[in-house]
Each structure stands twice: as C-alpha cells, then as structure tokens.
Symmetry: C2
Subunit: 333 residues, 2 copies
C-alpha cells in the first residue's frame, strides 16, 4: 500500500502522452495528489499546481510518484537528483517503470538512510496464496477485452466513479502498474508466478458487504495468445458476477500479433461466459464498452447504436458517453 | 539441461509411492539411469541395480537425482550426507523438492568447491520470452484434463513411447518437475512469471521437422479455478495440432475444490477446442485418455467402450490398453 497523498513527478516528459500515469491519477483520484513537479523543458501538464518538494511536503504529500514513462528504460541523472532529494526530505517514492528503483544503489542507500520506502509497483510485494475457489461475499464485475489495451482499466474506473457518485459501495481493484499507482494498491498480475495468479486475484477482491461492488481491472484477452493465461486467472480468481465486454473497433489485428484477427463481440461473449460460470454459475454479460476515440462523433454514435441493437446489451463509450448505463445494468442484474 | 545418465536416490522412502519420481524415470527413460541408491530401511525399489556412489560413477553416472518425495519439506541429515559426498565425487545433483537445494548453505558450498551443479527443477533456469504467436513448423499434441492429476503426463509419455517404437520423430516436452527429471529438460511452467508463460511454452516446443511430433505435457485444467491460467498458456503457447482429452471417471469433485463438479468430456471438448483454434485453426480433438486405475477390469472396458461410442473418438487407458490407438488417430489427423 502506497501512502497518499502524492506529489506527481512529471520530470522532463516530452509530451502529454508520456505523463499518462500522472494524468490517470489526476483524472481518477484527484484527492490522491497535492500537485505536480516538473523539470525545465517538461512538455506535459496534468492541471495540478506546480510545487517544489518543500511546498508539497507542507501540503501533506507523503509519496513522490513517478508519473511519467522514461525513455530507453534508464532513470536519468536529473531524475535521480530529485528522487534522492525527495527521499532526504521524507518522501517515499513509487514507480511503475521497467527500470526498478530497487536496482539503483544510490536510491537504495538514500532510502535506507532516511527510513523511506521505494515502491516498484511492477513487482509483487506480497506472497499470494494458491486460489481455493471459495465463494466470496459481495459483488464483482470484470472487464473482458477482445484485445489488450482496449479500455478495460478506464471502463472499470469509470463504473467505480459512477457508483461512488451515486453513494454506492464500490472499489476499483487494480491489476496493473498504472491502476496500482492511481489507487495506491493492487496486484501486478503479469508479474505473479503462474501457480499463484488466481490466488492473487482472490486476495485482491476479498469478502465484502453484499451490496459492495469490486470493479476488477481486466488484463490481456482470452484471444491474445501471449497473455490469455493472465485473463483466465482473472476470470476464475475474480469469480465475477458480471462481465463487461470491451472493444476497440478500428484495430486490424491483435496488438503485437499481425497474423491474428480480433474476435467478434459474439465470440468473446460465447467464450468468456461459460468459462466465468465455472467459478460463478450466476455470471452474466451485462454490457459493452467501446473505445471510440478513433471514430468521428457520428460514426461513434452509429457504431454504438448498431452494436447495441445487434448484441442486445447496453453499449457505451465510457469516456464519450459515460458509464451510467453500464452501472444501471449492473444494478438490475 | 540435466546431464544423464543418473543415479536415482531413493533415500529412506517409506514405500513405493514415495519413490514416484524415480519410478517414472525407470519406467520411461531406463537408459537415463544406471542404478538406484537406497539408505537402510528404504521401502521402495524401482527395479534397478543397487549401487554405491563409486559404482555408479564407474558406470558413467553424471547426476544424482532425488527420486523420492521428502516428508515435511525438510532434507534430512542422512540425505544431506549422501548429497555432499556425491558432489565431492563429481556428481551434479537434481531435485524437484519444494525445499530447494540452493537454499542449503552446506550443499551450495560443497557444489562450489567441486564445480558441480545443483539443479532445482521447480525453478526456471532460463529467462523466457513473451510469446509472439508465430506459427511454428512440426506437429504438436497436448493433453487437456477434466481435472488436475488425471494422467496427462502419463498419456504424453505413452504416446511418445509408441511413436519412438514405430521409428517416428517424437519428443516428450516436460512442463512439470517430474517430467523434467524424467527427460532431463523442460519448463517448470507453474513457477514461470505470468507474462512469460505462453512464451515459455513456445520456447519449449520450437520449430521442428514437418513430421516431428511434440507431446506437450498438460497441466491443470480449464475447469480448475486455481490453475486454469497455466492450462490456457499451454493451449495458446503450444498451438497444438491435436488435443487428447484426459479424464479420471471416479472423481467426485475437482481436486482440492470440494464445491466444484467435474466437467463432462463434452464440455471439455467444446471449451478447449475453440480456444485452441485461436492459436491453431486446424486443431482437432483426436482421442480420449481415461485413467481407469480405480475401476475393475470389466468396469474399465465397459467405461471405455461406452465413452468411445458416446464421443465418437478412440478412447483408451494408455496404461491398461496402450496408447497405440491415440497415435493412430494422430497420424490420421
């Protein structure tokens, strides 16, 4: 668990896209961040106050979060100077970078001297159990994608936000590094050892109130041969009561696999639902989330309408239209 | 890769069952073992000559293989004495025990002094790639179980043996510790990090001659919620041309999951085949392997006949009847 609130480190991010993690935190958990820290030449701005380390400390910040993707996998000297100074001023530091903080001797030494923590959220910090398949109390919904990177995290965060606005009991359960940094906790599922994947998901979504919803962040796709095992563990460890099908309509092949076509939404539904019912016989597909970013306004509306008519399920783009109808469908189910 | 031939260490195994790993090696790769080493009071015998370390060394043995399950997860002092002596005489040592050789300082020291290797086959020894899904040459068959521990390894080893007898090109590809010790190589799939599972299977079954068959050892079950992700990675990383359904007919619930029923063979077929066709559109279900050990002779024959008639697929117990008809089905397919 990463201590909040954060100071978001944007570094010398060349553009807004490079600061995607910081943007995600600013969008979804604004209360988790007191401000942003930018180096000269930074081309990103997530709309929070620019703060020095001392100003952020005075505002209550406990953790410096690396909210920017680095280039070439190296933590530059200019970044390192800021991180060491932050540790010396009593910040913890959290990162989802491939280059691990813990593998940098200078950072480890600075953290030890100050008694501060380095969080590498790509690496599991807990020994997870083997899944026992016991039926847990509370409700769970899982986003299932036709492919990787089609908006599963966004969909879960958006449904969680709608439920919270409505005063419902709701948690977003992060399974990837961006989600973990946004919420401050979670399981980096792709880094868990095979035997413990489903158990890690059970650990992530424990017993809860009967009217509480866990929005489990989906990963991979049952149709993506590189990562389908991770998706399978989410379906069986998560024992979801509801599935939301997630799709990006302009993709011409599976991400990173030029010879693999995307499945239809029908194929996704017919594949995922029987598998989900192994763990939860009452599971239902309740709706469809489409990432229409690459479509024009009219084209997007037409695609959503046609898909809704064809599939007989509420179909939205949670970014463009909002996730209200998905939440309505969950509540009715 | 573990150097062969082996000396099989049976230790003080209380009974034959405790020496299952050694028995597997003696049954399936008799040429891989020069003899067995037993301590006073050993209740197991795998039918090989009893040898001292010196006799085994003289017979060409290169590796002492721990062929026995230990109790309570501890390597006893009497075992340790033999292992240290073996290292000092120039043996490598290989083990699939939960207690790792490499975590015992005395063993590590002895191995380093002699320049010998300690193989803990539960732990991956190679960094595996992320799967790329590229179509590989050669043929592959995968055993798919209604449950865990229903005879998938045995089925693969038996089909491999029949092919070898017929002079066909054939390899058994181990994915668990027993299989790895039997063949001297493989991937301990349940210990691989999630993102690399399917890539590890691709690595295990590389391009091969068009008429070569890989018999990939199955793991877990698509219907076993604790391990289904591992099974999924085998299906997509293995891109099998053929599936053999594996079943144990007397089980009353999924192994270790008292509240989970076993799927029917029909449900297994209808679930596994569409998933397999994502990676290999030509995949077919070619036969059924039933472990009838718990049935009487007549009962077993009746069960096999009824299943064959119902499913329309050659149905055998490879132990009782042999795997010839499964191989015939593979060749025809």
């Amino acid at each position: 668990m990463i201590q909040t609130p954060y100071l978001l480190f944007l570094g010398d991010a060349p553009d807004q896209l490079a600061a995607k993690v910081a943007q995600g935190i600013a969008d979804w958990r604004p209360d988790n961040a007191v401000g942003q820290f930018r180096l000269p030449g930074c081309g990103a701005d997530v709309g929070l106050s620019d703060m020095t380390l001392d100003e952020a400390k005075a505002a209550g910040a406990k953790t410096l979060v690396i909210g920017v993707a680095n280039r070439g996998g190296v933590i530059s000297e200019s970044w390192k100077d800021v991180i060491v100074e932050a540790l010396s001023k009593g910040f913890d530091v959290a990162s989802g970078l491939h280059t691990l903080l813990r593998n940098d001797k200078a950072l480890v030494r600075a953290a030890e001297e100050q008694g501060q923590k380095l969080h590498d959220v790509r690496i599991p910090s807990t020994p997870y159990p083997i899944a026992d398949g016991r039926k847990r109390s509370g409700k769970r919904v899982l986003g299932i994608g036709t492919d990787c990177s089609v908006g599963k995290m966004y969909t879960g965060l958006a449904m969680d936000a709608v439920m919270k606005e409505r005063g419902m009991k709701s948690s977003f359960r992060a399974t990837g590094q961006t989600g973990i940094l946004i919420t401050g906790e979670g399981v980096p599922l792709d880094a868990v050892v095979a035997d413990f994947m489903a158990g890690a998901v059970e650990y992530l979504t424990p017993d809860n109130d009967d009217d509480h919803w866990d929005h489990i962040e989906g990963q991979g796709s049952l149709f993506h041969v590189s990562y389908s095992g991770v998706t399978m563990a989410l379906i069986h460890g998560g024992q979801p009561d509801a599935l939301v099908l997630c799709h990006e309509p302009t993709r011409t092949h599976m991400r990173g696999l030029p010879n693999y076509d995307l499945p239809t939404l029908e194929a996704l539904r017919d594949t995922a639902l029987p598998l989900a019912r192994v763990a939860n016989p009452d599971c239902r597909v309740v709706g469809i989330s489409v990432n229409t970013k690459a479509l024009g306004e009219d084209e997007a509306r037409r695609y959503l309408e046609e898909t809704e008519a064809r599939m007989g399920l509420p179909t939205v783009d949670p970014y463009r239209i909002g996730a209200e109808r998905l939440v309505d469908a969950l509540v009715q189910a």
